[in-house]
Assembly symmetry: C2
Homo-oligomer: 117 residues x 2
């Protein structure tokens, strides 16, 4: 089974890049909207600023790392249920991160299941 890891570099973000609680809440909400189930969350806060926030899902994870000094957010969205839509998750997260600069999105295929041929 091929699933997609959505990898997003979002520049010029005007959202709350240093507010891990808000980011985690919005990540959970975006996961829920995609039909995914949150099973845990964690964060690291950096000095003087910046966070890495992860929501563990029954269907893998969503991770955001921020560099407020650059107004930058790096986002990874991995949903191991191929019926779930990682782009939809990103669209919701974008409403929170509010990137005003370049948004670079890549889709990285990952193989889950038996060893590929």
């Amino acid at each position: 089974m091929t699933i997609i890891q959505l990898i997003v570099d979002a520049h010029g973000c005007e959202g709350p890049l240093n507010d891990a609680a808000t980011l985690l809440a919005r990540m959970e909400a975006a996961a829920r909207a995609a039909g995914a189930q949150t099973v845990g969350q964690a964060q690291a806060r950096y000095v003087p600023h910046g966070v890495t926030a992860i929501v563990f899902l029954a269907e893998s994870h969503i991770l955001i790392s921020t560099w407020p000094e650059y107004r930058l957010a790096l986002v990874d969205i991995l949903l191991c249920n191929p019926r779930m839509d990682p782009e939809g998750v990103w669209d919701r997260l974008a409403r929170t991160l509010r990137p005003a600069g370049e948004v670079r999105i890549r889709r990285s295929e990952r193989q889950v299941g038996a060893t590929p041929e």
Copy 2:
């Protein structure tokens, strides 16, 4: 500044895919060997098996998700210090995961710093 996210799908793993504590210890050791500093860690355990383990680094993160039923580990290594070597981290993790099947490695460029031109 361009940094590399190393994305590894490791099949046929013979290592302790269901042992989050061991995985986290080896991830920390691999980070240390690369010159990175661990600032936190977290995990989610799945029923009936499988884990997602993350080590938060001063220089970003290392994440492993496992599917023991498929002997599969998905690994992400992101080091925001371009002098640090994500391949070296993977080499160390491979000694623990011991993939006997296909290992698919991709290098995803990510932009950290001012908005790229």
